[in-house]
Amino acid sequence: MSDEKLVGIVLVSHSAAVAASVAELAQGLAGAGATVPVAPAGGTEDGGLGTSAELISAAAASVDRGAGVAVLTDLGSAVLTVKALLAEGDELPAHTRLVDAPFVEGAVAAVVTASTGADLAAVASAASDAYAYRKE
């Protein structure tokens, strides 16, 4: 398993602290499996609240191991910026996918699933399934 290519995960939030904390939480809950490449892309380049296309592109490149990259986002401009970058065609690694999932629960599901060596479709599906987990 050690040389297996794992799906990379990018967590895009308006806040650098939120992105970093959710990355830490998801990796902490992933347990002792293979270490999934996870990169936060939070806030703007100058540390403010917002979305940075440059930070997202850099994060995606840093987690790309050739098995695809799953991108999870929080609000409005994070979603729109990733969609716009995907439309550019060459701004994100090949096989990068915006995953429709709740940010925190989806991140945990994505990282745990990726740690098993699952492919991009399975990682995306697990993250999206987190929407079905009701809290009441």
Partner: protein, 205 residues
């Protein structure tokens, strides 16, 4: 016919107008948004003006594609990908012709506005930039001046609407009574088109 110089003037005029109106856009964004629309767009269009001066693309399509790329990478808020998509998609629709007709621009801009509606999921009446862009494109078939007037009217007409997209939508009825900042900045973009058309054709001879 409209050449690359016309499109550079359009972008430069937009940058100047956004710089001039940045405080007003941010003030509009204060009661119903997160009070950064003016500063975000100012940063974006300043970058657009700078890159166009440096790289000087030689077709209308290339000018708009480069401008859109800059907006996506520098704005930091939702207006970046939305305006970026508008300009890039319009530029792509213009192809690589050295000059385009006003009719071709109208068709291309309509394709750009459609792409923005797809990206953001907004329709006319949702209190967004779409409310000034759609009437502007319709009026552009008549003239640049008519498009400017239609965009201004569209922006003003967002005041009584309840927002259904973006952060303002969480405010529900409290979004009513405020002119939408996105529709207002979109009207500046369209007004700059008319400004570009009025400018002297060549000042460097």
């Amino acid at each position: 016919m409209l050449d690359a110089d016309f499109f550079r003037r359009w972008m430069t005029a937009t940058a100047a107008s956004v710089a001039h109106e940045a405080e007003r856009l941010t003030a509009l964004d204060s009661p119903i948004g997160d009070a950064d629309h003016g500063s975000n767009l100012h940063r974006g269009f300043t970058a657009v003006a700078a890159v166009l001066e440096k790289e000087a693309p030689d077709t209308p399509g290339a000018v708009l594609i480069l401008a859109g790329r800059q907006l996506i990478s520098t704005v930091g808020g939702a207006s970046g990908p939305l305006y970026g998509t508008l300009l890039r998609r319009t530029g792509k629709a213009l192809g690589d012709a050295a000059e385009v007709s006003e009719e071709q621009l109208t068709d291309a801009l309509r394709a750009g506005v459609d792409a923005v509606m797809t990206l953001g999921g907004a329709a006319p009446g949702d209190k967004t930039m779409i409310d000034s862009l759609v009437p502007a494109v319709d009026a552009l078939a008549e003239s640049f001046t008519a498009a400017r007037a239609a965009a201004d009217e569209g922006a003003l007409a967002t005041t009584p609407l309840q927002a259904r997209k973006g952060r303002a939508s969480y405010l529900g009825e409290r979004s009513i009574g405020h002119q939408d900042p996105g529709a207002t900045s979109a009207a500046l973009l369209i007004a700059a088109l008319a400004t570009a058309a009025e400018a002297p054709e060549a000042t460097d001879v």
